[in-house]
């Protein structure tokens, strides 16, 4: 089955991102295709490489990056939601005249159309978050 995943909450505060990660990993292990993982609302905070959790805790951001790399996942961060919350890639930082960028490896920033498209193209769109 072709599955789209929507992550609506940031890391750590809610379990949503952990659940989305565990679901995505399990689906891949079962042989399903993950069409795209889309990060919206505070979910965009899963894509900042500046997170530094305590050593005995999981690193949610790196975990997504690694899973993405391993399975060539399309990890898409909503641009409008990311701009509001200070998540940007190098190009966007330049365009906005910011002195830093923080998008983690394996993620890309794009528009909301990518979420609607994931709904159209996937057999199921699975939402994680409140």
């Amino acid at each position: 089955m072709k599955i789209g995943v929507l992550v609506n909450e940031g890391p750590y505060t809610h379990e949503a991102s952990d659940s989305a990660y565990n679901f995505t990993k399990a689906a891949l292990e079962k042989g399903h295709e993950i069409y795209r993982v889309f990060f919206y609302h505070d979910g965009v905070n899963n894509a900042t490489r500046l997170t530094e959790p305590p050593r005995d805790d999981r690193n949610i951001v790196n975990r997504w990056s690694e899973l993405g790399k391993q399975h060539n996942l399309d990890l898409v961060v909503c641009i409008a939601a990311a701009q509001r919350r200070g998540v940007m890639d190098e190009n966007e930082a330049k365009r906005q005249g910011k002195d830093a960028h923080n998008l983690a490896e394996g993620f890309r920033i794009s528009g909301l159309g990518q979420l609607v498209e994931a709904g159209i193209q996937s057999d199921r769109l699975v939402t994680f978050g409140d």
Binding site: L6, H41, L112, G113, L115, V116, G119, I120, T127
Partner: protein
């Protein structure tokens, strides 16, 4: 899932329902949800919106956000018609427990009871909930 999916211009037309569950200004879900709804109009899908729980407050007329320091985005609901998004379903029980009638809303809506709303949701291909 609907049994048949219409084909239009070579693309798939799915039934998308955006489910609004939150009051308009306490969290960002209503505003960012509306942004997805507007984008979805460009994809020529069969789009509807459902308003349940505190989400029914999103449609209340006479919203004044000056004291909150937030943008009043309620006029956008009146503009949805221009995007061919005309199917707005409001749950009867959610209105009743909040003392709201259709007279309180800024737009024309279809009122469905709990069971009818559930049936409407069951017809959808994609449900995105905010």
């Amino acid at each position: 899932m609907s049994d048949e999916m219409d084909m239009q211009e070579g693309g798939v037309v799915k039934q998308f329902m955006f489910v609004n569950r939150k009051a308009p200004y306490g969290t960002i879900y209503a505003l960012e949800g509306l942004e997805v709804v507007l984008i979805s109009a460009a994809f020529e899908q069969d789009v509807s919106m459902a308003f349940i729980d505190d989400g029914v407050y999103e449609l209340k007329k006479g919203q004044d956000t000056k004291a909150l320091g937030q943008k009043n985005f309620s006029p956008t609901y009146r503009a949805l018609e221009g995007y061919d998004i005309e199917k707005l379903y409001v749950e009867k029980e959610s209105m009743a427990v909040r003392g709201l009638t259709v007279e309180d809303f800024a737009v024309d809506v279809t009122v469905l009871d709990h069971a009818e709303m559930a049936a409407k949701m069951a017809e959808q291909d994609v449900l995105i909930s905010f």
